[in-house]
Amino acid sequence: MPYRNGQPPIPTALETILRSSRISRRDLLFRLLPGGLFTFLSLPLLQACTRAESPAEAFIAKVPRYGADIRSAILSGFRELGVTPGELKGKTILLKPNLVETRADAPHINTHPSVIRAAAEAFRSLGASNVLLAEGSGHCRDTLRLLEETGMADVLVEDRIPFVDLNYDDVYTVPNAGGHSRLKTLTLPLTLRKVDWVVSMAKLKTHHWAGVTLSMKNLFGLMPGSFYGWPKNILHHAGIENCILDINATVRPHFAIVDGIVGMEGDGPIMGAPKAAGVIVMGRNFPAVDATCSRVMGIDPGRVDYIADSSGRLGTIREENIRQRGETIRSVHSDFDLLQKIPAHRGLRLHR
């Protein structure tokens, strides 16, 4: 039985079958239903599986280490992806890192401060008037300690980047635009209404409940812990994957920059091992970015349930639909360890 951060799971029967066998929804229909009946009953689902998807772009940069020129890599990505000074001039940009927990000598858990610094510089150089960092850490209650021990506090002070702890922000409540979970509304931090762009600055990591955590999963950290608990217990109870889709559908974030210079493999998102992948992945279309990241990690995005479900709803994940800018996936691909003991990892490996 799947088990999530100490929470009793509430999977549907279908989810349970899919999880335990790691077969796709489409495969399941073919297996369960005879010909005519299949056509009659499965058409709406099949249509959902093959929804028309607009093409998208994702950019990959090789960045071998945190001391490298990350700012130039990000600016190259902006150019390749058509991010122009015209659309950033005078804008307020919210950078949402992935800050989870700190351990000595574990830079692979959190978005690295050097990447935040580089992104802030890149956005400012294109005319953004304000860049702020905002996080509602899902796990660690002491956000200031996270900032201090990751080295992020030094960057914030030196570069005069304001920080907002979203866990304690004032809030507003809106209808859940995704409708995937049972949650009718989502309570969001007021800071979201004060910014023009929300940029998910995720980390390239495996995840022991969700399979992988990338730009879409990172937005869990927008949700105020004061209201959702630590580690966002209400969202866990409502289903991690459905809530990822709901948050992304409701917030409609603008841009993703994924720190894969040193990512995490194995028992992510905290206890896994460092994986030096040497990449930054960027894009406007979050499913396309996460699909590209997955392929870089040797993971089939179509087998990560929430990424598969995002396709056609929030963007596209089909490889032939994603115009790859910068480096090719093949040139940077490196299999991230998946653990057989973790149900969410089973069957994810990409077979080329």
Binding site: Y3, Q7, R103, D142, L147, A153, S226, G229
Partner: protein, 292 residues
């Protein structure tokens, strides 16, 4: 009598009072019951007479629902974690004894979701034990469980079955290498890291309920790290946890003053954090003794 540095911290809290009573998390922010409860607690522990805080206590009372819980906001009754904080704030104040009593009743009849332990579960803790969650219908976690135990004990329920079971839950979730994470011990066979704030909270709650031997590894762990802690949540609870076990650092005031000054670096702390620092500075034998 408070010393001048304690006075300065209390002054900062006092200045944050909202015109209509109560406190916000941040200057200029909206009223919050958690910030209000921490501010009242800090001011009272610092020696301010409860009669001077009646407007603040009344505002807190406005957050109490019919069943006794204190909700974070009226739109979110499911978010009940400020309830134990309100019990601290109203402690031994005749005007609010009924409210406190209703809050206690709510805690006694409320628990985090619990269920039979699954031997195949990837988690290492006993899921059948009842504690308290952050929000309704979610699992029990260290911080809300520890705060609820402290609140019930402060209200005279030291020997209640729920306090004993909550203590068993905390002991069950103690890490083998000492300390506490936020709720789990191991996941998929890997032990999680201890966190100073969780460790300080659990030690505060367990003081007087269990023998020192049962938590000696955790006391040693937090003693090792307390002087390296720079931030208010971790430092405040680490000091309160050690104080509760007679292990208060000799340089506690210096550590807290240094932390307080770090607002120059981080910006103004949340009212709850300022309140926690003030309580930790004053409560030489831990929170439960400060209340008694």
């Amino acid at each position: 009598m408070a010393d001048s540095k304690t006075d300065r911290i209390l002054d900062e809290i006092w200045k944050r009072r909202l015109p209509e009573g109560g406190f916000a998390s941040r200057p200029g922010g909206e009223y919050r019951p958690d910030a209000t409860a921490w501010a009242i607690l800090a001011l009272r522990v610092g020696g301010i007479d409860s009669q001077r805080l009646l407007a603040e206590m009344r505002r807190l009372g406005g957050s109490q629902l019919k069943d006794g819980r204190i909700a974070l906001s009226p739109e979110h009754p499911e978010v009940y974690w400020p309830t134990p904080l309100a019990i601290f704030a109203w402690h031994r104040t005749p005007e609010f004894s009924r409210g406190a009593s209703r809050a206690v009743s709510f805690l006694l009849k409320t628990s985090g979701s619990h269920f039979k332990r699954d031997p195949n579960s990837p988690g290492g803790h006993d899921t059948s034990l009842r504690g308290w969650g952050w929000t309704e219908d979610t699992h029990s976690w260290i911080e809300p469980t520890a705060l609820s135990i402290l609140a019930l004990r402060s209200a005279g329920h030291n020997d209640h079955e729920r306090v004993s079971e909550g203590a068993r839950l905390l002991l069950d979730r103690q890490l083998s290498r000492g300390g506490w994470n936020y709720g789990n011990t191991t996941v998929f066979g890997t032990e999680l890291a201890s966190m100073p704030e969780s460790t300080g909270l659990a030690l505060s709650a367990l003081s007087g309920l269990t023998a020192g031997q049962a938590v000696s590894g955790s006391i040693a762990k937090i003693k090792e790290s307390v002087r390296s802690l720079k931030t208010p949540l971790s430092l405040g609870w680490a000091i309160l946890g050690l104080s509760a076990w007679g292990e208060r650092p000799s340089d506690t005031h210096d550590l807290i003053d240094r932390c307080f000054r770090r607002q120059d670096r981080y910006g103004a702390y949340d009212t709850s954090l300022v309140g926690l620092l003030a309580v930790a500075r004053k409560a030489e034998e831990g929170l439960i003794y400060a209340l008694s």
